[in-house]
């Protein structure tokens, strides 16, 4: 009976006797005792061949002390998971969008970058999208004209297209309908369409949508667009000459950021924009007099639109000239000090909660410190409250009602979600581009049909002061706190 040594993995079993009268299977059982590998899983290498259960020992020419090698494990065979993974390559195109992480670009149909960038910005408002999906295809309300209806439908379809595709979309239908509704966009110059002002496009589209999305079933003031974008302003109109004073309220869809020599920051521009002078007939003086209009925000929207007033009509050159001044804007905007006193009072509680939330996020260590500082904050605002607190309570409750509808509270703090930029020297030339924050937090620059990922810090660099893209319209999303 020859003895052999068997090597298995890193181990060497030196003296294994082989009973050559028995079949190799017996030998395998011997090895099973040693290694724990079941015989059927054993592969024993003998000079470039595998020992079969029925091999003849004598033909293998075993030598005394020969080294054999065994391969085999008692491991469980890896089983394929029952549900195999889904690969991106196998998905239909619309589902690939999710994986790509951003929606499609829009083809430029000939100087339509103003429209493309506007649509990309508006497309980033999910509430608008869902409102549009609910919009009925045929049943338009009586007070809506045919072209507005068509434009709304086209908007809805375009948004759907954008969501479904990875490749760029050509907004043909929308472009046609838009021109039909607003013929000014169809202006031709030298046989091709002219570049237009994106802000005008933005305003017109929002206006149309606000008309169309007025829900016919419920009360008239429940207007989706207004709810999303409408900013309630309360203005004190004061005439220095006569001492007359009156209050006005109005709803606007965007705040203007006026740019003058003193304005370096968005906040300053907004303050400027809320103050205006106007000339109107004074009943007491019996002539027209200069009135000062000082507006404050009395109702906050979910999406705050801010327009940088960069263009002004330059009479001598007969075109809209551009102010290139650099105006910084933050990623996080707090408009608390632009609010009316009533609104401020309503905002205090949610803001407190927001601060607590932030404090908690900042970590346990800081907790103690935070609460103390927050306490003092509260005290201060408490002390402030009664001295300034007066005004129409009806407005305040309205604002509250809107917010409480969804059990979330606005805080007056806003996060930047979209920037529409302009590059060039006048409104009717140059290039418009949309920079939109995606749901996953990444920024994408939609340069017509070409979506390019961007870094967040580069977004704030679009503040002007050169020939680079500069912000024209900014859209901020409200930071809310659940109640």
């Amino acid at each position: 009976m020859p003895t052999v040594s068997v090597k298995w993995q890193k181990e060497l079993y030196p003296a294994v006797e082989i009973d050559t009268t028995q079949s190799p299977y017996v030998f395998k059982c011997q090895l099973y005792d040693l290694t724990g590998v079941p015989p059927e899983r054993q592969k024993i290498m003998v000079k470039g061949g595998i020992l079969k259960d029925d091999s003849d020992w004598s033909k293998l020419g075993l030598k005394e002390g020969q080294k054999l090698m065994m391969v085999g494990t008692a491991d469980v065979i890896a089983k394929a998971p029952e549900k195999g993974p889904v690969f991106m390559e196998d998905l239909p195109e619309e589902e690939q969008v999710v994986a790509v992480g951003h929606s499609a670009g829009l083809f430029n149909l000939g100087n339509t970058c103003y429209m493309n960038s506007t649509m990309q910005c508006l497309h980033s408002v999910p509430e608008l999208k869902s409102a549009l999906t609910e919009y009925p295809q045929s049943g338009r309300s009586n007070d809506l004209d045919q072209s507005s209806h068509l434009l709304t439908v086209a908007t809805r379809d375009l948004f759907n297209e954008l969501d479904k595709n990875v490749k760029p979309v050509a907004p043909m239908q929308f472009w046609m309908v838009l021109r039909k509704k607003y013929p000014q966009f169809g202006q031709l110059h030298n046989g091709s369409f002219m570049q237009q002002d994106a802000e005008e496009c933005w305003t017109q589209i929002l206006y149309t949508l606000s008309q169309a999305l007025r829900s016919p079933s419920t009360s008239a003031n429940l207007d989706t667009v207004k709810e999303l974008f409408g900013i309630d302003l309360v203005s004190r109109v004061h005439c220095a000459e006569s001492g007359e004073e009156s209050m006005e309220t109005e709803t606007v869809y965007s705040l203007k950021c006026h740019i003058s020599h003193e304005v370096n920051h968005l906040h300053e521009g907004l303050k400027h924009g809320l103050k205006s002078e106007l000339e109107k007939a004074s009943p007491s003086l019996g002539r027209s007099a200069v009135y000062l209009k000082d507006s404050r925000i009395n109702g906050l929207p979910k999406y705050l639109t801010i327009q940088f007033v960069r263009f002004f009509w330059k009479r001598e050159s007969n075109q809209k000239a551009k102010i290139l001044r650099k105006v910084d804007y933050p990623l996080e905007l707090d408009i608390f000090d632009l609010c009316s006193d009533d609104l401020r009072k309503n905002l205090e509680a949610p803001r407190q909660m927001l601060r607590d939330e932030d404090g908690r996020k900042a970590g346990l260590k800081l907790k103690q410190k935070n609460t103390s500082s927050v306490d003092s904050d509260v005290k201060m605002s408490d002390a402030e409250g009664p001295s300034t607190g007066s005004g129409e309570s009806s407005k305040a409750t309205l604002g509250e009602a809107v917010a409480s509808d969804k059990n979330v509270q606005l805080t007056g703090v806003y996060d930047l979600v979209a920037v529409l930029t302009h590059k060039g020297r006048s409104a009717d030339s140059g290039h418009y581009v949309a920079w939109v924050k995606q749901e996953n937090g990444k920024w994408i620059q939609f340069d017509d049909d070409n979506p390019i990922p961007q870094r967040e810090e580069d977004i704030t660099k679009l503040s002007g002061g050169g020939d680079w893209h500069m912000a024209y319209i900014c859209m901020y999303k409200a930071r809310t706190i659940p109640m």
Partner: protein
């Protein structure tokens, strides 16, 4: 007679204006007169003295004649020993050269006549007109005496004239015996005076190198051999072989066996290798030889004659079989502290990219997972542990990661399973144990991958039990072609270069099988080419040729068909003329493949030879403007690189030529150029090549860009080069949307960090002297596959990337003691300096740093021991080196 040199020479003692005054003068007579006036008294005396000798030499009185000649000789000898300007005696004798010459003719044969011939021979050094070879003529007529006494310059001049005379006489088929006699004297003189290169040059001119062996001694044999081996690179065949043979003989004579072995390996002369083993009595040194053989990656069986003792023989054979490679590699890894497994994310370093990297996609992309599989395999190659494949096997089933294997799709699963082989590279025992369970999988792709993995894990390792053959042989005839390809490729990788007949008998029938699909045939051809690489095996060649002839017209258009000629070419890798017969046969092939086959065969046959004519031939092929659909220029471009990679000079020239091809070439040439650059600078990231490739990686043509990206990986392979890593990272964000290019970028990233920076792909080793044929073969297969990325690497044959395993070697110096246990000693590592032809003992490295072994060696690095305590048994400190204690060493107090 021109007097200009005279004039300037004499100017040394005279004011400048003299020279300017005399320069225009035409009449030598007046010039001489004038010159006399300028001479110093001493010179004048010498001149007159010499003139007197000349006169006396023509005297009838023999005694007087003899005295005059001897005095003249004396004068010349004393002055010629230093030779910065024409010595005075020669100068003064110039005008009398003619006189003496004519007098010589009138003399009767005598010793005196010979004496005069000697003098005339020396005078001819400065007198005789170009091409007259009068110095030689009178030398041969003169006395056979000590020529060295006339000075170096004279000998050197004589050597030059001999070379000319020799070629003339050979042309006229005249006898050269008298010349050879002279040559022998000159060689002896040169060898004695540290002028080995001159001696070698002369002997090469007269084709009589054998003479050298007689004249080398202990002090100069190293320099001589160094010159011989490095000049051999620039010699046309078969001269180079004879030169190296001489070097081999000399090394053997002085028992410098490791160097002799290197040359034997370079010549691929197994007879010589055996001789080295038989003539060296020392077991320890034999062990070192075995390490050298193992690095070259050829299979070699020891026999009784080479090592009498059975036990010793087994120990030696074990070293040749490379079984300890894994151990040594892990020793290095532990020393450098890189054992921690790395995940693909650690390599991608996406956090360094600004927001561009694809947003942590929620859906797996099969292509990206496949890329991660490869990156994981390359980066953790040989370490035995990783973060994707080996982890899941332990927590099998319900790990949070899930089973990575099944995150790959179809053929991806094959590559994923095979990656286990790469992770356990060289560690056959562990590797087989890991792979074993996948043999029982019911998924064909997984089984195929396991088969391929067995091949990878065994790559370069030989084992008595032949586990790879035993395991894979049963799967060669399976129905499923992916299993067959797995087994075939596995065998090819495991037995590359072994010329194993069992494999041939198993694989050749597949080539003739009419039912076998094209891809099976193609990979069989490659596998056979690898196993029989550089063997010129007729039988295998026939089998592949028939397989090629049997292909249908439509098959010939397939990209995979091109692997068939490549398999054929590998058989003749580096074998030069031996390919001619097969190349003739290839001219009868279908015209679709004929030219392609021709280029492939030629490029393989002359790979690593540096043959300039072949490079020109390939360049010529690239200059043609092709009909649509012709593809042969791809292998032609690769051929330039394969041939020119032999030595640095040719390599640099090739890089320049490739730049031109980039500018003027058409698309099918341009896409091959980056690959050629990749091969030329493999694992050697030269900055200008890096820049070129970086530029091309943004090329408008996708195929060029893909090739450039892969090549960026190749030139940085195993270096962890930060600059390339940065470039690739930026490319990954640049190409984030283009799946194919991104895949290439990932693969390149895997290459750059291969083995966490401990590996090299360079087929050249041992101070860039030896070329490992299997390593080159692996690279060539990969590059040919890259010629058609879309069909092969981006298609379902991505596992050809694993062919790179053939070229993977640790770039280390691991010193071991006499029991082959690792031994840490201080070594200096620095940039290698070319010391060929330099006198004395020049420094061989520059800008060195001192480290303790084991150390990493970068391309162009050389190491030397920084201690006298040990003596290395190999002159080249690379790979495994055995150290012997120095008996003469004394510890400094």
């Amino acid at each position: 007679m021109e007097s200009e040199p005279n004039n300037t020479a004499s100017g040394s003692g005279n004011p400048k204006e003299e020279a300017t005054l005399k320069a225009p003068s035409k009449d030598p007579k007046t010039k001489d007169d004038k010159k006399d006036e300028d001479l110093s008294e001493e010179d004048l005396a010498l001149k007159q003295q010499l003139e007197l000798y000349v006169e006396r030499a023509q005297d009838a009185d023999l005694g007087l004649q003899k005295f005059a000649l001897e005095s003249m000789r004396q004068e010349i000898r004393t002055s010629t020993s230093s030779m910065t300007s024409v010595p005075k005696p020669l100068k003064f004798l110039r005008p009398h050269y003619g006189t003496l010459k004519s007098y010589y003719e009138t003399m009767a044969d005598s010793d005196l006549k010979k004496l005069l011939a000697d003098i005339l021979s020396v005078l001819a050094l400065t007198m005789s007109a170009e091409g007259d070879r009068e110095s030689l003529k009178y030398r041969l007529l003169g006395s056979e005496g000590d020529i060295g006494s006339w000075g170096h310059e004279y000998v050197r001049n004589l050597a030059g004239e001999i070379a000319q005379e020799y070629s003339k006489r050979v042309n006229e088929e005249a006898t050269v015996d008298d010349l050879i006699e002279l040559v022998e004297q000159i060689v002896a003189f040169h060898m004695k005076h540290n002028a080995e290169p001159e001696a070698v040059d002369l002997l090469m001119e007269v084709e009589y190198l054998d003479l050298l062996v007689k004249h080398v001694d202990k002090t100069n044999y190293k320099r001589t051999c160094l010159y011989l081996t490095s000049s051999a690179r620039y010699l046309p065949g078969p001269d180079d072989v004879s030169v190296l043979d001489i070097a081999y003989t000399i090394y053997s004579k002085f028992e410098e066996f490791p160097s002799a072995l290197q040359i034997a390996l370079y010549l691929d002369n197994m007879q010589h290798v055996k001789q080295v083993f038989t003539s060296c009595p020392d077991l320890l040194r034999k062990k070192q030889f075995c390490y050298i053989l193992a690095r070259q990656g050829i299979s070699f069986e020891l026999d009784e004659e080479m090592c009498a003792d059975d036990e010793d023989k087994e120990a030696l054979q074990e070293i040749i079989n490379n079984t300890k490679l894994s151990e040594g590699y892990l020793t290095l890894a532990r020393d450098i502290e890189v054992m921690e497994p790395k995940s693909p994310e650690d390599i991608y370093k996406a956090h360094l990219l600004d927001g561009r990297a694809s947003a942590g996609a929620s859906v797996d992309s099969a292509r990206q997972n496949l890329a991660a599989t490869f990156v994981n395999a390359f980066v953790n190659a040989g370490f035995g542990q990783d973060k994707l494949m080996t982890v899941t096997s332990e927590t099998s089933g319900g790990g949070s990661l899930g089973n990575w294997l099944f995150k790959n799709k179809e053929h991806g699963k094959a590559s994923a399973t095979a990656s286990l082989g790469m992770i356990d590279l060289w560690d056959v025992d562990t590797g087989l144990a890991q792979l074993d369970k996948y043999f029982h999988s019911n998924d064909n792709h997984v089984t195929a991958g396991a088969l391929l993995g067995v091949g990878i894990v065994n790559c370069g390792i030989k084992n008595d039990c032949d586990p790879a053959l035993a395991l894979l042989a049963d799967y060669l005839d399976k129905e499923d072609s992916s299993i067959r390809i797995g087994a075939i490729t596995g065998l090819g990788l495991a037995y590359a270069g072994t010329q194993n007949e069992q494999i041939r008998d198993k694989l050749t029938p597949i080539l003739g099988d009419p039912k076998a699909p094209l891809d099976v045939i193609a990979f069989t051809s490659i596998a056979l080419g690898l196993v029989y690489v550089g063997s010129c095996n007729e039988e295998v060649a026939q089998a592949i040729i028939f397989a090629l002839m049997d292909r249908s017209e439509s098959d010939l258009g397939e990209p995979l068909t091109r692997l068939l000629p490549l398999g054929l070419g590998l058989l003749y890798l580096g074998k030069q003329h031996s390919v001619e017969a097969t190349a003739e046969v290839s001219k009868t092939f279908n015209e679709k493949i004929r030219k392609y086959c021709d280029m492939t065969l030629l490029s393989c046959a002359y790979a690593g030879t540096g043959n300039v004519l072949k490079v020109q031939h390939f360049l010529g092929q690239c200059a043609q403007h092709l009909e649509k659909g012709e593809t042969f220029q791809g292998p032609a471009v690769l051929g330039i690189a394969m041939v020119a990679m032999a030595e640095e000079l040719g390599l640099d020239m090739a890089i320049r030529s490739l730049e031109h091809l980039l500018q003027y070439g058409e698309q099918n040439i341009r896409k091959a150029v980056p690959l050629a650059l990749g091969l030329l600078c493999i694992s050697n990231p030269k900055v200008h090549v890096m820049d070129t490739l970086s530029r091309l990686s943004h090329d408008a043509d996708t195929e060029v860009a893909m090739a450039a990206v892969i090549s960026l990986g190749l030139i940085g392979a195993g270096t962890n080069n930060a600059r390339i890593a940065g470039m690739l990272r930026n490319l990954s964000s640049y190409y984030y949307k283009e799946a194919s290019l991104l895949f290439c970028v990932r693969i390149a990233q895997g290459f750059v960090h291969m083995g966490k920076g401990l590996l090299t792909l360079a087929p050249y080793h041992s101070e860039r002297f030896l070329l490992s044929p299997t390593a080159l073969a692996g690279l060539v297969v990969l590059l040919h596959a890259c010629l058609d990325m879309k069909a092969i690497i981006l298609g379902k044959y991505h596992y050809v990337l694993y062919f790179v395993v053939l070229a993977m070697q640790p770039r280390m110096l691991l010193t071991v003691d006499e029991n082959l246990k690792p031994l840490a000693v201080p070594v200096r590592v620095g940039q290698a300096v070319d010391v060929v032809g330099q006198a004395g003992r020049p420094k061989t490295i520059t800008g060195f740093q001192t480290h303790s072994t084991p150390v990493l060696l970068a391309a162009g690095d050389r190491a030397e021991l920084a201690t006298e305590k040990y003596i290395p048994l190999s002159p080249i400190l690379e790979g495994f080196v055995i150290l012997k204690e120095n008996p003469d060493f004394r510890e400094e107090a």
